[in-house]
């Protein structure tokens, strides 16, 4: 690692690398979300029999993690580089290690471990088996074989690789605070995100209009349910995402008691599960167009709902 990559060089390198492995480069999805997994490019596309290979950067908002831009490692919004490959390739671990080499991280010069970490997102009905990847003791990647998404069995199994871009970059650039990261030549992470971090923290913890947020949650939920009934999967899912983010804002504000918390999470989970089911049904109506194996396609299309 003689010359240090900027954060945007890191993104470009990963994009270039994974596009060569057959991943489509998608763009960040334009609705707020807590993790790259919640992008429809993962959440929806992981379900059903169609193959799917994609990579994208996802800004991920976690209001409760905001620290007014004062903590060197905690952020209201961080960035994930998300790779999803379905079915999971047999050499996915090797591909991942090659991606680190592409970033100038030679495994022979470091200590890289795959440490068990099974992932779960109960609010979206998701569960998977995998590891966190340690680079010299630092967790830089979450590596998961999806087993269940939106309450449905994932078949074929999708493999998800999620790089924490700030963590990884802090290591590569050898800085102690994410705000000192170089995003592009001459521009620091703090120059771009310092102010929004402060403002979003201030907003989430002190200023947000709770009553409005409670109302919004209910409104979004009604709309999501209605569009699920209409079979309009993507608009419905957008509203599920909005519910999730609205809940996160309320939670950060301390406006949700523990009792209510479980109730809200269950409401989100139920919507996510319904959307997942409708998504598969709608893809089936379209004839699972991404499935190129004709025999399998015909077989699945004949199967009862």
């Amino acid at each position: 690692m003689s010359e240090k990559l900027s954060l945007q060089d890191i993104i470009l390198t990963l994009q270039h690398f994974w596009s060569k492995q057959g991943c489509m480069l998608m763009q960040s999805y334009d609705t707020e979300k807590g993790a790259g997994t919640m992008s429809p490019y993962t959440f929806l596309r992981a379900i059903g029999p169609e193959p799917w290979n994609a990579a994208y950067v996802e800004p991920s908002r976690r209001p409760a993690d905001g620290r007014y831009g004062e903590n060197p490692n905690r952020l209201y919004q961080h960035h994930q580089f998300q790779v999803i490959m379905k079915p999971s390739p047999a050499n996915i671990q090797d591909l991942y290690l090659d991606s680190l080499r592409a970033l100038g991280i030679d495994p022979n010069e470091h200590d890289i471990r795959f440490v068990e970490d099974n992932w779960e997102n109960p609010s979206m009905g998701c569960a998977g088996v995998g590891w966190e990847v340690w680079l010299d003791g630092m967790e830089i990647t979450q590596f998961t074989y999806f087993q269940q998404v939106g309450g449905l069995e994932v078949k074929p199994v999708a493999s998800e690789v999620t790089y924490g871009l700030e963590r990884l970059s802090s290591y590569i650039q050898d800085v102690n605070s994410v705000f000192d990261l170089e995003w592009a030549a001459g521009v620091k992470y703090g120059d771009i995100f310092g102010e929004p971090e402060y403002e979003h923290s201030k907003y989430s913890f002190e200023e947000s209009n709770q009553e409005m947020l409670f109302n919004l949650f209910d409104t979004y939920e009604q709309e999501a349910k209605k569009q699920i009934k209409n079979g309009l999967v993507h608009p419905a899912y957008d509203y599920v995402l909005k519910c999730s983010h609205t809940f996160n804002l309320l939670d950060a504000r301390g406006a949700v008691s523990v009792t209510e918390r479980a109730g809200y999470l269950a409401r989100i989970r139920n919507m996510a599960k319904s959307v997942a089911k409708v998504f598969v049904a709608e893809r089936k109506k379209l004839g699972f167009p991404l499935l190129k194996d004709e025999k399998l396609r015909n077989k699945l299309l004949k199967e009862d709902k």
Partner: protein
């Protein structure tokens, strides 16, 4: 000639805690397979790393043992027709076994004669048999199983290669699309694949490719490197065996290294530093010769010592970030008062159906007063202990909302003690706050202070009571709130201190607390599921006694009366056990058991007085007087040993009584009077438990 067989399953990284048990499981399955297949062997060695599970079988026979087997056919009377010729059934049977009726002989089985033939089965070769060892691989069961790719097959992690070598010959089978071969993989980064010429080459051939497949050897390497490092630096490196086991299963080739952190972080409590190092980073921590924590750590790299400086620097950076966080919390947490934190617990739920943590503290505080008052004279708290208990109970959960416990939840109680001292609480109060979590495992240490012990009991019995009252009763393996562990904790503390609590007295104290202060129980009603809770606690006493090697019947007997204190239950078990081999034990117990059985027929309203004028014989009178004497002499307050002796002395009187007296007579008055007399005696035996559960046959 004897052979060597190697079976290696190559996997993506197995969870560290699963590696060793899985290697053992594979060995057991292979062993069972070989035995079922009658394939004799000398020894099975196991090998395991994060990426492989393997067994090497040496001294393996050429082929299965040949066997001579008798096959049973129809009964003789069916096998032979009236004229003594072979029936169709007999001919069919012998043909089915590949033989002729001439081979049939008769043998008796349970009084009937049957047709048999002797079959000689030639053993298959080892190579033929071993193809079936696939079953041992695919039938493995793991705590978490997963699917991958397009498959429905579940395993611990994806299978990436398989080696099955009988000497120099590949035994062909496949799991999914992975075919057995002679190729194994070296270290992920430092090694190459290895083509094994023979099973004999394993595991030595892997060493050059930086894989130490023998887990014990790997562990020994780590230990020796740690010792060397300790000697070089004059350190004491604390090697926790669980951590060593985990670390050993995270590496294929271990290189131990040391790192350091800034001395300023030593101001943070040791427990925080140790948790950061040990639990979060899997580091070993380091002490000086006087057991003071040093700003150093020791870890194990999965690889050799090249570029080790990168690894050291990276690990130091990660630890520093964690410690920086901890230092921040430690400082910030001290800016508020205990009352601030306690008040915040009004917003923290203990459980949705039960209420907040603050409400729990209020209940426990008044429970503590009642419990302290219920202690017998010689165990009473001093005035200062009473004060400390009340203060501790008022605040004992405050640390839950500190930043440090938010980040390091495993330090609950530990931080409570530290902060309480820093914020000016008495040491007795601070200690009780830490100790109320004890024991935190089934054989964990108990609170050392009396105040801590009482608070621990109050906290636990409140939790058990609240969950039972809300209908959240543990079933089978489902005990999400660890109520069994907490009940066991109560019993262990009580027994260790010889306190007089029983399941019944503790439950009554809860009900009393509820009646005194119903406002503290707005969501729960402690009278709900009352009996279930009593049985649940007594069940823990039984569990504890069974671990002390008491017989099943002694335990059932001694724990049979739920208002007996835990101490008395243990004492009764001891006494019964100590007399179990006495010559008169059987007779004594049989006599008393007879009384107990009949007494059950008495109306249990206790209003029936014994009327001596209704006695019709001397035996009744004699027994009555003897029992009265025991009662007057204070059998209830005497030791259980004395009670046992006194009851034993009644035996001739009881025997005589039954000889002379018919209990279930027509005359209602007389019958009731006799039953009342037996009931009185049976009540006297209750402190020894339910004697009719003793096995005296």
């Amino acid at each position: 000639m004897s052979h060597t067989f190697l079976l290696e399953v190559g996997l993506e990284e197995i969870p560290a805690h699963v590696v060793t048990p899985s290697a053992r499981q594979l060995k057991e399955r292979v062993e069972t397979f070989l035995k079922d297949q009658r394939l004799v062997f000398n020894k099975i060695d196991t090998f395991s790393t994060p990426r492989r599970l393997a067994v090497k079988i040496t001294g393996l026979a050429d082929k299965q043992n040949d066997i001579e087997e008798e096959a049973k056919g129809p009964a003789k009377k069916i096998a032979l027709d009236k004229d003594g010729n072979w029936s169709k059934a007999a001919i069919g049977f012998s043909r089915g076994q590949g033989m002729s009726p001439d081979d049939i002989f008769f043998k008796e089985l349970k009084g009937t004669e049957y047709a048999y033939v002797k079959k000689f089965i030639v053993g298959k070769t080892a190579a033929e048999v071993l193809v079936g060892i696939k079953e041992a691989v695919t039938s493995m069961i793991f705590p978490t199983m997963m699917r991958w790719g397009n498959n429905d097959f579940k395993y611990v992690r994806p299978i990436r290669w398989l080696v099955a070598l009988l000497d120099k010959q590949v035994i062909p089978f496949s799991v999914l699309n992975v075919q057995t071969n002679r190729v194994t993989q070296g270290h992920r980064f430092l090694g190459n694949e290895v083509v094994l010429e023979s099973a004999e080459d394993y595991p030595q051939a892997l060493v050059t490719q930086k894989v130490i497949a023998d887990a014990a050897e790997r562990k020994q390497m780590i230990k020796m490197q740690i010792e060397k490092l300790a000697a070089q630096n004059n350190w004491k490196i604390v090697v926790d065996s669980d951590l060593l086991e985990e670390v050993n299963n995270l590496v294929e080739f271990p290189t131990v290294f040391a790192g350091s952190f800034a001395e300023k972080y030593l101001d943070i409590p040791d427990e925080v530093l140790i948790t950061s190092m040990k639990d979060h980073q899997r580091f070993f921590y380091v002490l000086d010769q006087s057991d003071n924590l040093l700003p150093n750590f020791v870890s194990v790299r999965n690889g050799n010592d090249e570029h080790l400086e990168n690894v050291v620097a990276g690990n130091e950076k990660v630890l520093t970030a964690r410690l920086e966080d901890a230092a921040f919390f430690y400082h910030e947490d001290q800016q508020k008062t205990i009352e601030d934190y306690a008040n915040r617990l009004k917003k923290v739920m203990f459980h949705d159906k039960i209420g907040t943590v603050y409400e729990k503290m209020e209940r426990v505080r008044s429970l503590c007063k009642l419990l302290a008052a219920a202690l017998d004279k010689e165990n009473k708290l001093s005035k200062s202990e009473e004060k400390a208990l009340d203060r501790a109970a008022q605040i004992y959960k405050f640390d839950l909302v500190t930043g440090m416990v938010g980040e390091f939840s495993e330090l609950q109680g530990v931080m409570g003690e530290k902060y309480a001292l820093l914020m000016g609480e008495l040491p007795e109060v601070a200690t009780a706050i830490r100790e109320h979590y004890l024991p935190n495992s089934s054989d964990g240490v108990l609170p050392e202070s009396k105040v801590g012990a009482l608070l621990a009991i109050a906290d636990k019995i409140d939790s058990i009571g609240a969950f039972f009252a809300s209908g959240m009763i543990p079933t089978g393996s489902n005990d999400p709130y660890a109520l069994r562990r907490q009940a066991l904790g109560i019993v262990r503390i009580t027994l260790a201190r010889n306190w007089n609590f029983s399941a019944d007295s503790l439950q009554k104290i809860i009900v009393q607390n509820y009646e005194n202060e119903p406002i503290l129980y707005k969501n729960i009603k402690p009278t709900e599921n009352y009996d279930e809770m009593g049985a649940f606690i007594v069940e823990r006493v039984k569990k504890l006694l069974s671990e002390s090697k008491f017989g099943f019947d002694v335990i059932e007997t001694a724990s049979g009366v739920s208002n007996n204190s835990f101490v008395e239950m243990r004492e009764a078990a001891n006494i019964l056990k100590s007399h179990q081999n006495d010559n008169d034990f059987k007779e004594n117990i049989e006599a008393l058991t007879r009384v107990l059985h009949l007494a059950k027929k008495a109306p249990n309203d206790a209003t029936q007085k014994i009327d001596t004028s209704l006695f019709e014989n001397e035996a009744e009178k004699d027994l009555f007087e003897a029992v009265s004497k025991i009662k007057v002499s204070g059998a209830a307050t005497n030791s259980l040993e004395q009670l046992y002796a006194a009851l034993g002395s009644l035996r001739p009187l009881i025997d005589n009584y039954f000889e002379k007296t018919m209990i279930m007579v027509e005359d209602e008055k007389v019958r009731a009077n006799r039953l009342a007399q037996l009931l009185e005696l049976s009540k006297l035996t209750q402190r020894l438990g339910k004697l009719d559960k003793l096995n005296v046959k």
